[in-house]
């Protein structure tokens, strides 16, 4: 509690409205700002009880607190958001002035006084509301964009399943060199379309801050050996040498989002391969307990200094890339940069035109939460499924053919149900060890068939797999919450099917 200043008219020079009351709640002073607001002279207000001058103060939300003011001698805060205003004042635009009010108790010359300071926050709140409205609109727009992409993703993934799966089956057939080359061309185009749709989804998530991370513990050695196996194939196909250097403890495990880390390395390596016509691509990995460093170097065309500035921007593919006839919108590096940044890491590029490029990524490593176990390594070997009875419910004929071929290749016997109703009938009448259900089927969806199956005693322990073109993270969450044991997103390859059954043998 401070002493009030006898030069009370100083308060005419502040921007807040001020009322001073005595211990009887009688107004002893109002400043010029307040007089201007209420449109009454100071003479008509001074000497009046504050609740007579402003009857709204007797409202239950104010008065019980207010009347304890001099007993408690503690300051009071009245926020605009809860009360709108302390004194109802119509503004020029006919709106009631929003007010933040602070009441302090002071020792005046003739006893205690209450200093009521009223701030006009109408404009401030209005501006915030406008910002809030635009933020809402942006959010709605982002949601519509995501929903549109989700539909497009689903609608493209289904035919892609037919293209990618069929080409894989075709490559198992005896083909001459020209035919093999053509089929590889179709498969590469399918893979490219799939990458493109995944990149667009990621880019949309980045722009709406919705990119999700699911860290897990895994072996560095296993992870990079898989990356190297895939990279070697790509480099060899272009006649390039693929060199690697792994500088870390082979027993080391790390805790990070595995698929996002793969996305970073895969993008950098495949870019290096794409933009290098002769020579080498080198991958160097260094890790200790605190940091993972990934260096990807190539002997390719290099990037000019001017292009290095915008190389991580979306839709910016370096000139050389375009000249070399490389397809793509240049989304990969932009997404890599976003992922690296969201993982608190850094990415930089050193390059000179004609002398190749070096991309360096550093990512901080953290320890997993206590009790977090290492992810089991999934075997890539083909399992022997002889004697296993598999029910596949799928309405699309091409997808039926692909799944039957892949699963029969592993030795299992497959029964096909062409819609949801047929799937229920099969489940009711037959016995199956594994059930794969497409989600979008006539008569009953895969999730409906699953619910039906779980009402039957025979299917309590049987693994259920959802196969769907709905492959966004939200879709996967939905399927997992519904109870599905495994998800096989379209388009699937033979390798994906092998991994699915190997995962099944680990889990069940």
């Amino acid at each position: 509690m401070a002493n009030s200043n006898s030069n009370i008219h100083y308060l005419d020079h502040v921007t807040d409205g001020v009322i001073l009351i005595n211990e009887d709640f009688t107004i002893v002073f109002v400043n010029k700002v307040f007089v201007g607001w209420v449109g009454q002279s100071a003479d008509t207000l001074v000497g009046k009880a504050i609740d007579d001058a402003f009857p709204m103060l007797t409202a239950k939300k104010f008065w019980p607190r207010f009347k304890r003011l001099f007993k408690m001698r503690a300051p009071m805060v009245l926020s605009a958001l809860i009360h709108h205003c302390f004194v109802e004042i119509q503004q020029n635009n006919d709106e009631v002035m929003m007010q933040d009010t602070f009441v302090s108790v002071l020792q005046g010359e003739h006893g205690l006084e209450g200093l009521i300071s009223i701030a006009n926050v109408s404009e401030h709140n209005k501006s915030l509301m406008m910002v809030k409205d635009s933020a809402k609109q942006i959010k709605t727009l982002a949601e519509s964009k995501m929903s549109f992409l989700s539909t497009i993703s689903h609608d493209i993934r289904n035919p892609l399943n037919g293209i990618i799966g069929s080409t894989e089956l075709l490559l198992d057939e005896p083909l001459n060199d020209a035919q093999t080359k053509l089929v590889h061309g179709i498969k590469d185009s399918g893979d490219f379309l799939l990458t493109l749709i995944k990149d667009f989804v990621d880019l949309t998530r980045v722009s709406s801050n919705q990119l999700r991370f699911a860290p897990e513990v895994f072996s560095l050695k296993e992870f990079f050996h898989n990356v190297i196996d895939v990279s070697q194939v790509g480099a060899k196909a272009k006649g390039l040498r693929f060199v690697y250097e792994l500088d870390f403890d082979y027993e080391q495990t790390i805790y990070i989002d595995k698929s996002r880390l793969y996305q970073i390395v895969e993008n950098l390596v495949s870019n290096a391969i794409k933009f290098t016509s002769k020579g080498f691509v080198k991958l160097r990995i260094n890790a200790d307990n605190d940091q993972l460093t990934i260096v990807v170097k190539d002997s390719g065309s290099g990037v000019s200094l001017a292009e290095q500035v915008s190389i991580f921007d979306s839709f910016k593919q370096a000139k050389q890339g375009l000249e070399m006839g490389n397809e793509g919108f240049g989304l990969g590096l932009s997404i890599v940069k976003s992922i690296v940044t969201l993982l608190d890491g850094k990415i930089r590029v050193h390059s000179q035109e004609g002398l190749g490029s070096t991309f360096i990524v550093t990512l901080p490593l953290t320890l997993p939460p206590e009790g977090y176990g290492i992810e089991a390594v999934i075997s890539q070997a083909q399992p022997d499924l002889t004697g296993i009875r598999v029910l596949v419910a799928e309405d699309n004929q091409i997808s039926q053919h692909i799944l039957i071929s892949f699963i029969e290749k592993l030795g299992a016997s497959v029964t096909i149900a062409i819609d949801g109703f047929a799937a229920c009938k099969c489940l009711n009448e037959g016995q199956y060890d594994v059930v794969l259900l497409d989600d979008n089927m006539p008569f009953k969806t895969g999730t409906e068939v699953y619910s039906f199956a779980k009402s039957l005693t025979d299917y309590q322990q049987v693994p259920f797999v959802i196969t769907s073109g709905n492959a966004l993270e939200e879709d996967n969450d939905r399927y997992t919450e519904h109870g599905f044991d495994f998800i096989l997103s379209k388009p699937y390859s033979f390798k994906d099917v092998v991994e699915l059954f190997n995962r099944m043998s680990l889990d069940i």
Binding site: M72, A74, L78, K132
Partner: protein, 198 residues
């Protein structure tokens, strides 16, 4: 200074009375029925307080802080996890949504803090017949570590932490009242124990 069981009991009792009074004021102020419960009071060193807050609230907190002096000197604090602060503002304020901006949240939480901390301190002031001078409450969003580094903990080796559970409109919101008194105030309170325990 060592806090004996009697002093702890008195501080617990006075805090509970204060929180109870605050509930009545909040109920008169807002349309919704507000229940406040303060089930437990613990004495903690700054290090223990930091650990406890990190466990209970997390790293980021919304804080309303009121300094007081006069018959007793110290700082009263009301802390919420940032998300709970938003939730409470959402319930108490028309037009506020959880994703809104701090400057909107700040006003409402400052008022809630003002009501609770006023009532708690008034409970001490009345029972101990000590006159207190208060500064206006201040709101901030900050990291637990920044809160513990605050000068209020310099030289004051104990603080009193009381969990406050808000039940309003079927939502349950956890907050913490942290009281820090200087040594003289604690000694004065200790000296008044015989009359307080009568």
């Amino acid at each position: 200074m060592e806090i004996n069981e009697d002093l702890k009991d008195v501080i617990t009792e006075l805090t509970n009375i204060g929180v109870g009074d605050a509930a009545s004021v909040l109920n008169e102020m807002v349309e919704s029925h507000v229940t406040l419960q303060a089930p437990l009071l613990v004495i903690l060193t700054p290090e223990e307080l930091e650990e406890r807050l990190q466990n209970d609230i997390g790293e980021d907190i919304s804080l309303v802080q009121m300094n007081f002096n006069g018959g007793m000197t110290g700082v009263a604090n009301l802390l919420f996890p940032i998300e709970s602060g938003k939730k409470l503002t959402n319930i108490l304020s028309e037009g506020f949504e959880e994703e809104d901006y701090n400057s909107l949240k700040a006003g409402t939480l400052t008022e809630v803090g003002n009501i609770i901390l006023n009532s708690v301190l008034a409970s001490f002031s009345n029972s101990l017949s000590e006159h207190l001078d208060y500064q206006l409450p201040e709101f901030s969003d900050l990291h637990v570590t920044q809160f513990i580094k605050n000068e209020l903990f310099q030289g004051n080796d104990v603080s009193f932490l009381c969990e406050v559970n808000f039940a309003v409109q079927s939502a349950s919101i956890e907050g913490h009242v942290v009281l820090v008194f200087d040594i003289d105030s604690l000694q004065a309170m200790n000296g008044k124990l015989p009359e307080l325990l009568m």
